[in-house]
Assembly symmetry: C2
Homo-oligomer: 336 residues x 2
């Protein structure tokens, strides 16, 4: 079978690609070809796999050609992120709405030509949730909590959830939307997103660097590891339509945790000296943004698919440490 991953060279896309290549099959069929479409070049290890074809360029321009190419399945991860959408409104509309619409229309064109409906997993986000003046945010957001997004990014994700549902209802695709929790620990540098500290307060101390936490220690939020997130996307792909249940989006599992609990886990896993590199320095702007985010989430439908959050944040830190073993400078300050 032939699979397309949009955003396939990115943080999650590349991990999803590696997981699929290692697994070798998807929904019981052998993966013969894996196309990674992204604006940036794919990592070398992926390009070295004979099954991988990397395509670099804007997705929107590529969608017209997709009408002439058969895919058995699509993971649609490509997206402008939250901060980009806030600073460049047109970029957000183009990258998140127009590209998704063009992708869906390319797949619809193929069913119009007699092809079976392509299975598509759309990566939505917990960013669809937020408090509106008329609709307070509940303490815990579930699959069926009313979504009233407070960012353009969240708005686009919610709109695409509904497009995926309607194209599915019409039989043009077999679409499933899954809302990702905040993924941590992300490698690399701080990216300026308001959520950046959720990774920074773990990643920087492990690299021997000081880190600043801009929000109070009792700040709560649902998080997930890259590994569990990728597992969730694959499970949503492999589920039968009946098991997926309905056409609305589901929440992927999140570990509901406070910043204090994250730092306690860091001390347990890496030692108190590493933990001591994090200091609290309140930032009213960031605290204000984060204060509008869900403090906890449930994932009832994902649980019915056998998906569970990590048992502890300790496991998430250990996963990051294992993943970073070969990365220069990533682990410089841990106790021997």
């Amino acid at each position: 079978m032939k699979i397309l991953i949009t955003g396939g060279a990115g943080f999650l896309g590349a991990r999803l690609a590696r997981a699929l290549l290692a697994k070798g099959t998807l929904a019981g069929r052998s993966i013969a070809q894996l196309v990674l479409a992204d604006q940036v070049a794919a990592p070398a290890d992926l390009c070295a796999d004979a099954r991988v074809q990397a395509r670099t360029g804007p997705l929107l321009a590529a969608c017209e050609a997709l009408r002439e190419e058969a895919f058995d399945g699509v993971f649609h991860l490509a997206s402008a992120v939250s901060g980009e959408c806030e600073t460049d409104f047109d970029l957000g509309l183009r990258s998140n709405l127009d590209s998704t619409r063009a992708l869906l229309d390319a797949l619809r064109y193929r069913t119009g030509q007699g092809s079976p409906a392509t299975r598509l997993v759309f990566s939505s986000s917990i960013a669809v949730f937020g408090p509106d003046a008329a609709v307070p945010l509940p303490p815990v957001v579930g699959d069926d909590t009313l979504a009233t997004p407070q960012t353009s990014y969240g708005t686009h994700k919610l709109i695409c959830e509904h497009l995926v549902a309607d194209y599915t209802r019409k039989g043009y695709i077999d679409g499933r939307a899954a809302r990702l929790m905040t993924v941590t620990v992300r490698p690399g540098r701080p990216n300026g997103a308001a959520s950046s500290f959720f990774s920074g307060i773990i990643r920087e101390p492990l690299a021997g660097q000081e880190a600043v936490c801009p929000v109070p220690a009792d700040t709560a939020h649902p998080v997930s590891s890259p590994q569990r997130t990728v597992q969730g996307l694959i499970a949503v792909y492999e589920a039968s339509r009946e098991a997926f249940g309905g056409r609305t989006a589901l929440n992927l599992p999140g570990l509901n945790i406070t910043v204090q609990q994250m730092l306690d886990a860091l001390a347990r896993v890496a030692g108190p000296a590493v933990r001591a590199r994090v200091r609290f320095e309140p930032d009213a702007r960031i605290a204000g943004i984060v204060g509008n985010w869900p403090r906890a989430a449930t994932a009832r439908r994902a649980a019915a698919l056998g998906l569970q959050p990590e048992a502890s944040f300790d496991d998430i830190i250990r996963q990051y440490i294992a993943d970073s073993a070969g990365a220069p400078g990533a682990l410089q300050g841990m106790a021997a």
Copy 2:
């Protein structure tokens, strides 16, 4: 002030135009010019008013020019209807999504040039609500009921609600989305929509014709008269942002009623001989569609703006009779 009504020559648009011209002001300012944009020609009585300018043609093509034209307010009613969207998917996308996006972007362009944010009322619909396999429809839908549309029309309306909210959040427009209940009694001919009988079982008997009711007598649904619906749109326009409350859509008031109660009202208002022209002939296809619609609605936020549903369906029938007094053949079978 200068006002634009998209869909301004249609059933509701023309009634809104007449109400605005009779009122003479909107939000305390005198209406100097009223532009009616529609694909069909505007009624003669409206064209005869010196304040009215009728423009005929597709909205999408007109939006580029709207960048160069200042409007103080917009009522955006233009839309392909439910049945059209189901039979022509591209028409629905173009008429409901692309046109709304182009309109919003034209208004955004103007704020980018330094103009104040244009106030815009978007006519959404109770069609945003429906049962999904994962989310049953509650017995009563409120402002903040989770919307999981089961038609392309409902999907487009919900998507546009969220676009209006996000453009408003960014300060590009001052947008308010109001969900219309099923409007009855519509004049004219049956239009093939599944909801057509809600008007037909009143309109046809009053015109001396037999009518068929395709659903059981205990079928319940929230309805509203054209007059109350137009009043609702105007009140939503005139509300302060604080009074409107939030950026999410609100429900306009609906009279929650059963088909049996509608027919009882017909007998009271027009006599038992008129009522006797309606017979029940179950249509499984239509009953199946209507069975997925909300059986009742509340309108808490609209009530806070002073909006109430009609006190009785008798009033709605009397309103239709008064409106139809001059229409040939509309009232042919009433008891003297």
